[in-house]
Symmetry: C3
């Protein structure tokens, strides 16, 4: 759609933003940043936007410092975990010197973990590390906050033993459903704003129409599944049951090159499994008082791409550049 | 003992049943199904038998749909995880539309996980996935039940923090001990009936006398160990301390081809370690309110077959057909 | 510094002791044993010293029994996990027949796990198993103690849900700080004595001055980090925030051959991350009532050595003998 911009620090960072949704595209990444800024503006809390920028810059700089694979850096493979760390830390922890230190150290470590995890899952098993480094790094930061008095816990926990829930989600109004579908997409960036979800879809349309379609289909399937399973209504409305299935739907349906009825069914199964995995990991994380982040997606994506590794190109891996997305 | 029956859907399913105890043998698998039916008849609850059949059929059909390795399907490599999912779900969850959806989705996913896990543990590390896919898939289903109001929890939980137990198991009467030895074996299929254990041993004798001997020896060692360690008497009597050690004993003692005093000692160590791992995982799963399933066996089997991978044939792997069991 | 002593059972065991700090050096290992004996003498509890000797002997004998790689045995690669199991079990569990059985079985299993884990992490990923086998084996033993009435729990637990701590650590007196720096080092062997820490540093100086320097630097960084983060003062004073970072500092700073400012910065990041991982794993283990052992170090070491596996020699792996330490 656009001519690919040259690799430099700015485009590496912007593509890092785009890679959160597998898009090696600077314009897409800019739209995603806009979605983050809008949520900060709407919620009146700018620390997540500042964190996003710091995370993006620090993780990309760390890649320059420790790594020589410039292709991967230029494709944004070291920015997408860092930007997510940078949004997550201020979302769940109280601002303060140690919290900002957390953002910087977490972003730097996410790049190390990206290299580490890639060496295991990509080189040995042929699948993508994807947001696994973000999940692992941020879990460590969040858990440690319970041990450190100088890191205040804001928007998560408290740790508690999970218990069976008895009240099923009531029906959802059509208008409400539309907002949830976009909020599911926004929550990939930990944003609770449906408008941010619309901005993200616009960003996806710039680089890949199939990815945008898969995101919306995945979001609708996740909403229907969560309602039918009887998940917690507040969580459904906040988009917590949708962000991982959205990523799974894109990863499985769009990454499989030769689309067919069979691949669509496979992606459907993977997306439904991701809704179950979200419910499972909510219960699993409950005694620890930390969010699942995108772990349900990472698990589902690994399980559903490992079987067909020979057939699947992985644009989200540092060692392979996307052939699906148009560069910009 | 019998001529090997040709590969078709029925024999693939029956061998899938037999592979729960590593036996690529349709007659053995039929005996195992009989053991499940008997337990349903004795307990007056047929949902586990229905679940077993659905799990077996769906997981095997999924393998046909996504996979081309007909040898592995014909050997029953895609049925044994599905049948266990199909028995486990109705055992622990309340019957209802979502529960039966769980059985179908869980069985289909178990086949995907089988392929995924095989690509990791067999192709990279040279060990068998064995019942790992059943454990992982069913853990997800069970955990998610705590988040979903439309899936009622029946026979497990509630989640609670583990605590030190103070009362050691009292001595066991000789007659009681015999029943426990067979109940340990029945619990591999999550069955509480000693008669089912006898039927399973008969099934084993059809295909492999060493496997039957190892099963009984493993069961006796597990009972002795659990008593000496002072495990919970009710758990011991229900066979909960025996099913994983039984599988470990067969896997290590019978899979090592050249039997010797040293291999017997190695299998003894592995079996004792499995009893400890069962106690450990009971404490580990306690805050989550879910059963260990065969995870203690899977852990022990991986740890004790990884060192000698070059020497060990793995009949339980999809890529290698058993040379130990007589086909039927 | 000394002529390398020939490989025999005694030197294999002594080097096994030395390998806890990556030192293939019998004299160093003897110093470490002295540090254990001193702590027993000072605390009036000899069960840990006896456990250490049993663990060292049993794990090394098990290696002779199951393994042919005499080079690795002679280098002490099968003793260091066993000695740690042998110290840990009597430290946390009440003495009795099952506890001593635990020491013997745990030490034997640690050798099996060493071979198993090496086959995965060294052969497939190019990193060292290090104390991973000790951590995994001892976690199983400790967790199972909650299920077994005949294994009394002494110095750990009770399991409890983690909660946010509100009181930051107060400042530390300079004299107190020096004691903590050495106690951090002693806690690698689970010893609470600063004098034992001094004996360990002496042992390190015999074989590798860089390792001794890295140990002390890592200990100081860990103390500063834990204080700044606001970790629990009692844990800081007991050395609980230092033992894993000490190991990380040595592993990353000394194992990277060509030292430079960049490698020093990388080791600094790894050491700080290990302090965070210690806080995280304390919260993670809390509901299970078991110690982290050296898991924070193992995680950090794997994450920070995986990226540069091609550049890093791993003297701590059974398949590669140290070229850094002088043999004795």
């Amino acid at each position: 759609m656009f001519k690919r911009l040259p690799d430099n620090f700015a485009t590496s960072c912007l593509r890092g933003s785009g890679q959160v949704f597998f898009q090696e595209n600077a314009a897409t990444g800019a739209c995603f940043l806009l979605a983050i800024f809008y949520a900060s503006y709407a919620g009146g809390q700018w620390s997540t936007s500042i964190g996003a920028l710091i995370g993006l810059v620090v993780s990309t700089l760390t890649a320059y410092a420790i790594d020589r694979r410039d292709n991967a850096i230029g494709a944004g493979m070291y920015g997408f975990n860092g930007i997510l760390v940078g949004v997550a830390v201020p979302t769940f922890l109280v601002a303060g010197p140690v919290m900002w230190f957390y953002v910087v150290v977490g972003a730097a470590v996410s790049t190390v973990v990206m290299d580490a995890m890639t060496n295991v899952v990509s080189k040995n098993w042929g699948v993508a590390a994807s947001t696994g480094p973000f999940v692992l790094t941020t879990w460590m930061l969040m858990l440690a906050a319970y041990s450190f008095a100088n890191v205040g816990i804001g928007g998560m926990g408290p740790p508690r033993i999970a218990h069976e829930i008895a009240v099923a989600a009531p029906g959802i109004e059509p208008g409400e459903a539309v907002a949830i579908v976009f909020r599911n997409i926004a929550q990939v960036f930990l944003l609770g704003s449906a408008v941010s979800g619309v901005l993200i879809v616009i960003g996806l349309l710039i680089s890949s129409i199939p990815a945008a379609v898969a995101a919306i289909c995945g979001s609708i399937i996740a909403l229907a599944g969560a309602l039918w399973f009887g998940a917690d209504p507040a969580s459904i409305k906040a988009g917590m049951y949708g962000f991982s299935p959205v990523l799974t739907a894109i990863a499985i349906a769009v990454v499989f090159i030769k689309s067919s009825a069979k691949v669509a069914l496979f992606a459907l199964l993977a997306t439904i499994f991701t809704v179950i995995a979200q419910g499972a990991m909510d219960a699993l994380m409950s005694p620890f008082g930390i969010p699942t982040f995108t772990a349900p997606y990472v698990l589902a994506m690994w399980l559903f791409t490992l079987p067909k590794q020979a057939l699947v190109p992985h644009p989200h891996s540092p060692d392979a550049r996307s052939k699906l997305s148009t560069g910009s």
